[in-house]
Amino acid sequence: MTAVPLTAFLVVAAVLFVIGVYAVVAQRTAAMILMGVELVLNAVALNVVAFWRFVRPEDYSAQIFVIVIVTIGAIEMAVGLGVVLLLYRVRRSVQVDDYARLEG
């Protein structure tokens, strides 16, 4: 079997990252923005793992790092969704444009 080179992982991670950033910036729906954030996080995790596997495989702190990222992702997702729910309750909309006025 031919080994997948590091660059491939990095490229994929980059693509994921870009798509995630694009989603964060360009999406109007709050849930989609959260999804974009999730993508960004996952891209970063992929990047970390790739570097652990190819550069310093003995340093297993990367694995821990990934678990932390996932954890944070999860927490953040919970909190985020909760905020969006609250925002929906107040603003009656999921379009972030309507969340411009930070009052109330």
Partner: protein, 655 residues
Amino acid sequence: MNALVWSVPGVALAVAAALAALPARLGRLAGWLAAGAAAYATGASIVLAGSGLRTSTVWFEAGRLVFTVGLRTDGIAVSFALLVASMSAVVNVYAIGYMRGREGRARFFAWMAFFQGSMLALVLADSFLVLFAAWEAVGIASWALIAHEHDRAEARRAGAQAFLVTRLGDLAMLGAWLAAVLATASSDLDPTLAAAASGRLAPGFAVALAFLFLVAALAKSAQLPLSAWLPTAMIGPTPVSALLHSATMVAAGAFLVIRLWPLFEAAPLALGALRWIGLTTAVAAALAATAQDDLKAVLAWSTVDQLGLMMLALGIYGPGAATLHLFTHAVFKAGLFLVAGIVDEGTGTRSLSRLGGLSRAMPWGAATFGACALALAALPPFAGFVSGDEILARAAATGAGWGGAVVALVGIAGVYAGRAFAGVFSAWPGARTPRLAPAPATMLGASLVLGAGSILAGWAFRGALSQALPFAPAAEVSAWWRFLGVAASTAGLAVGIGGTRARGPVPLLGRWVGAVPTAAALLTSAAARAGVAFAATSEHVEAGLDRAASAAGRRAGSIAAVAAFAEQLLDRASRRAGVSVRAAGRAAGVVESRGVSDGLDRAAAAIGTVGDRVRHTQAGPVWVYTATVTAFLVAAAVAAILAAFFDVSLRLAGG
């Protein structure tokens, strides 16, 4: 003795001062006081005769110049003093009678005494200072006495004319004696005369001095061209005419030449001029005298004639003869005047055509006048013959022409003397004898004295003067010339008396001679007229200068206008400057209001706008935030990567 010398003029001057302050009640005393002063002077002069004193004292010194005052009593001085004093005494006595009933007696005799004192000081003078002061004083006395009746305008004018004409001579004399003082560093007469006699004076300087003194003498003695004042002066009282203007004052001119004789001897040019002036004057005046109607005018022109004869005698180096003639002339001319005064007072007229045949009414007067007239005509043995004889001797010695001239003059003198006598005293056809008021004793007595003198004076004076005077005695005249002289005088008298008895007092030598006085007056007034013309031109000159000055003033005014214009320009410029400053200020204000404050406002607004815009980044849509955050994160990551990359590369490189 010195005091005596000073008292000779001093007493007279003191009497003058006293008479000036005399109260009116004592007016009758005035004449006797004046006559008394003259008598005293006569006596004192007799005492001083032959004393040869000099009382010169230094008055002040100015640098190297010493100014002295002093009197001397040498022969010339004492002789003249005796003449002046005795004549003054006689005429003053006459004047007592003449002034009877007239007003201003005290004033008259005060001036007569002043004149006496001044004339005595003049003849006794030993220094130029005294001489000149006395000369001027005599001139003032003459003016005051001629114009004695000062209500009459013609009297005032005559006095002024006499004074001013003689003043011309005084100017010349002033220059002369000041030059003499400068040359000899002393104002005494002797140093100058000694310098002239010894030849120490430069010849040109001596001639100049002599000519200047000559001008003074000519003015004072009424010689041409300054003759006209003497006939005009006859308007004064007769005693004045007798004393001043025949006997003494006018003789002062001749006296000056005699006194300064050494100086004139050193200046032959001056004496040459003098003889010709004397001759011309004598001829002209004698001719004029034959045509006058006024008796006093006849006598006045006769005086000018006789003075011309004296000047002629001086000019031909006959000072002794001239002096003798001066003395005798004084006696007989004064006598003529005194009788003329008696006639004038008695009949009220002096005009020959209105007189005539008075010999019966006033026999003594006629005798006196006749004696004096014969003396004037130089008939022997009268006084005028003695002195005329000496002049003739000198003239004949100088030249036949001069001898002939003197003879001719004697002849004409005979004509006018005879005419005057006959015109007044003999009954010529058509004469209406006027009524004659009797004359006071004083007038008659005085004239008698002089009448007697005109017979005897010649012989008396000749002896005394030839001793007293320092001049060489005249040579004896040849019998031929003496005969000619006597013949001429007789012929003249015959023509005068005979012609008048036949035709009345007409101008015996023709009417044309009447032009002589006019010509003399024209000559005399020529200088005055020149002065007046000069004053007129100077008026024009002054007007011209005035115009120039006002033009300059106008130009200066235009300079002021230019200055004002410049000032206007400056004003306008400064105003514009002020306006522009104000405009600048306003512009600055505008700039400030628009630029600064508005700019600041706009800046603030811009900041507001910017802030507003920037606010939108924070108050805007969510994607803005996310985009921002994401961009920042990406940038930071890229930077970190790059930094790590470089760091690794460096470490790899550095190792």
